[in-house]
């Protein structure tokens, strides 16, 4: 049994099908990647698993560690040990950087908060008195969000475009932080368009038109991702294309 099991997941928004008969099973303690073209439904999948308000009316079943998530809100899912890092993290007026990290932290000590910031490439001395608001760049907010996730010590982390807005120097720190999450026993899901981020994973899922069209090791999936993955009617299935299927 996987840590997260998704059976026949479906979701329609404004009359359009976004998730379509999607099945997924995540092994515990591994780093997984979900790749696919724009509009494939990757972010929606993460939001649905997390229970975000806009994605609550799904069909099918999502189970975390054997527990159905159907009736659980975002905070209840988080307290089970799940969390989500957004593609564009929110800004928090009036909340300082260490306060934001401490909100979710299991260990709320200054030393623990400093450690989480450092591991994500945020020098504590430089950021301790900064606000978690619009004065932080998009990349800084991504790093701050990851620091808060490190502090939370979750069992399942879904990171939407974890490299978005991150400078080259910081990218290695983000990779290390993700490795630290895995080292702590967390299961990580990387939602990405980046071949480099895909390489951080151990297993990958190829998603298109709302469902998983292939899964396997990273090398296998990256062939589709790098060479063939474009929005199309045949759901990025080279085998179907070869067969002339619609």
């Amino acid at each position: 049994m996987g840590l997260l099991e998704i059976d026949d997941l479906g979701l329609a928004l404004n009359g359009a099908t976004i998730l379509n008969h999607l099945d997924m099973d995540l092994w515990e303690g591994h780093v997984h990647a979900v790749v696919g073209p724009n509009g494939a439904g990757k972010s929606t999948l993460a939001g649905t698993v997390m229970g975000l308000e806009d994605y609550r009316r799904y069909t099918g079943e999502i189970r975390f560690d054997g527990t159905s998530l159907a009736d659980l809100g975002v905070d209840e899912r988080a307290r089970l040990g799940m969390t989500l890092g957004w593609q564009e993290p929110a800004r928090f007026e009036g909340l300082r950087v260490p306060e934001f990290v401490r909100l979710a932290a299991r260990d709320k000590s200054d030393d623990a908060v400093r450690s989480c910031l450092s591991r994500c490439g945020m020098e504590p001395a430089r950021y301790w008195d900064r606000a978690a608001d619009k004065t932080l760049s998009g990349g800084e907010r991504k790093k701050l969000e990851l620091a808060s996730i490190l502090a939370m010590q979750p069992r399942l982390v879904m990171l939407d475009e974890p490299d978005s807005g991150i400078d080259v120097e910081s990218l290695a720190r983000i990779r290390d932080a993700i490795a630290a999450l895995r080292g702590g026993g967390a299961t990580v899901v990387l939602i990405t368009h980046s071949a480099e981020v895909l390489d951080w994973a151990e297993h990958a899922f190829l998603m298109c038109c709302g469902h998983i069209v292939d899964k396997g090791n990273v090398e296998e999936i990256s062939r589709y991702f790098k060479g063939r993955c474009i929005p199309c009617d045949h759901k990025n299935r080279p085998d179907l294309e070869e067969e002339g299927a619609p």
Binding site: A78, W86, F92, E93, G94, A104, S148
Partner: protein, 308 residues
């Protein structure tokens, strides 16, 4: 009521023991404690219906430590009226922290009429923090007529977050000469049947004058808030910004009425306002870290009301 009581409620009893810290405490309509420092002249006069206060910061004087003012009453009923004339002479610098303390108010009025003159190249920073009773039996009416001379700087932070608002009617109007800098901030949290009325006006009359008016209001239950921000720019290089955010919960009602007026082709004013519920992305981010919806909402509102 003793001075100590007022200072303890305001949590400034340690600061005012420092002989190098100037302070003035008014209990109801009597001067109950004062301390002066070089460069700062304070004259007071108890009159039939209030206290007249004249504060002058001498030319070129730099008051090293913030001056503490404490206005209030510990009784349940009373009318406190303060007439304040404050002059910061050219190139002087001073910061004032005022606590307005009404922890037991059931039928109290606090009326403040201030005339503030900040001289050429001078700097004046004023922080006013209110501590009210949980009953909300108070009416607060602070009015200020402020003028900034060339190159003067003035910053004011008004904060009413502790206890119930009751009724508040703020009316500050500032005129700004060339190269002056104005920053007016107000943060108020209302609940129950509180009524909040904030009117902040800035006139950027001089060249290169700059002004920012910022209001942060949270209302819940049956509270209501009306925020009128008016900023005019009438000279070349005058630049201003008006920023109003109000979070509304329950049956509360919020209104924001921004007025921006530009009277010169080389002047510029921007405006932003956001009224409504707590931002859903912020809320879901905190909930995804395990905070309940109520906890997350409190964190977001507390942050909104805190100027950083």
């Amino acid at each position: 009521m003793t001075t100590t009581d007022l200072f303890e409620v305001a949590k400034i009893h340690r600061q005012v023991q420092d002989p190098d810290v100037a302070h003035l405490a008014i209990g109801l309509n009597k001067v109950v404690s004062s301390n002066g420092v070089a460069g700062l002249a304070v004259e007071t006069e108890e009159v039939a219906d209030g206290v007249n206060i004249e504060v002058t910061v001498a030319e070129d004087a730099v008051i090293a430590k913030p001056v503490h003012m404490c206005f209030g009453l510990l009784q349940e009923e009373g009318i406190q009226k303060i007439n304040l004339r404050l002059t910061v002479e050219p190139r002087a610098r001073v910061a004032v922290t005022a606590h307005c303390v009404f922890p037991n108010a059931e039928d109290v009025q606090h009326l403040m009429d201030a005339v503030i003159r900040v001289g050429e190249g001078a700097a004046y920073s004023y922080m006013e923090r209110h501590i009210h009773s949980p009953q909300g039996g108070i009416t607060v009416v602070p009015k200020a007529d402020i003028h900034l001379a060339r190159g003067a700087r003035f910053k004011t932070d008004f904060e009413l977050l502790e206890g119930r608002v009751g009724r508040i009617d703020i009316d500050y109007e500032t005129t700004c000469d060339a190269d002056s800098r104005l920053e007016m901030n107000a943060a108020v949290s209302g609940k129950g049947d509180d009524r909040i009325n904030i009117r902040e006006t800035g006139h950027l009359n001089g060249e290169r004058a700059r002004g920012v008016l910022t209001s942060r209001v949270a209302v819940r239950d049956d509270a209501s808030a009306d925020v009128y921000n008016e900023l005019t720019a009438s000279a070349a290089g005058a630049v201003g910004h008006v920023d109003c955010k109000e979070i509304v919960q329950g049956r509360a009602v919020a209104n924001a009425v921004p007025v921006v007026q530009v009277n010169h082709p080389k002047a510029h004013i921007t405006h932003e306002a956001a009224l409504g519920s707590v931002d859903s992305r912020q809320l879901e981010t905190l909930m995804a870290r395990g905070l309940s919806e109520d906890e997350a909402t409190e964190v977001i509102i507390a942050g909104l009301l805190r100027f950083t």
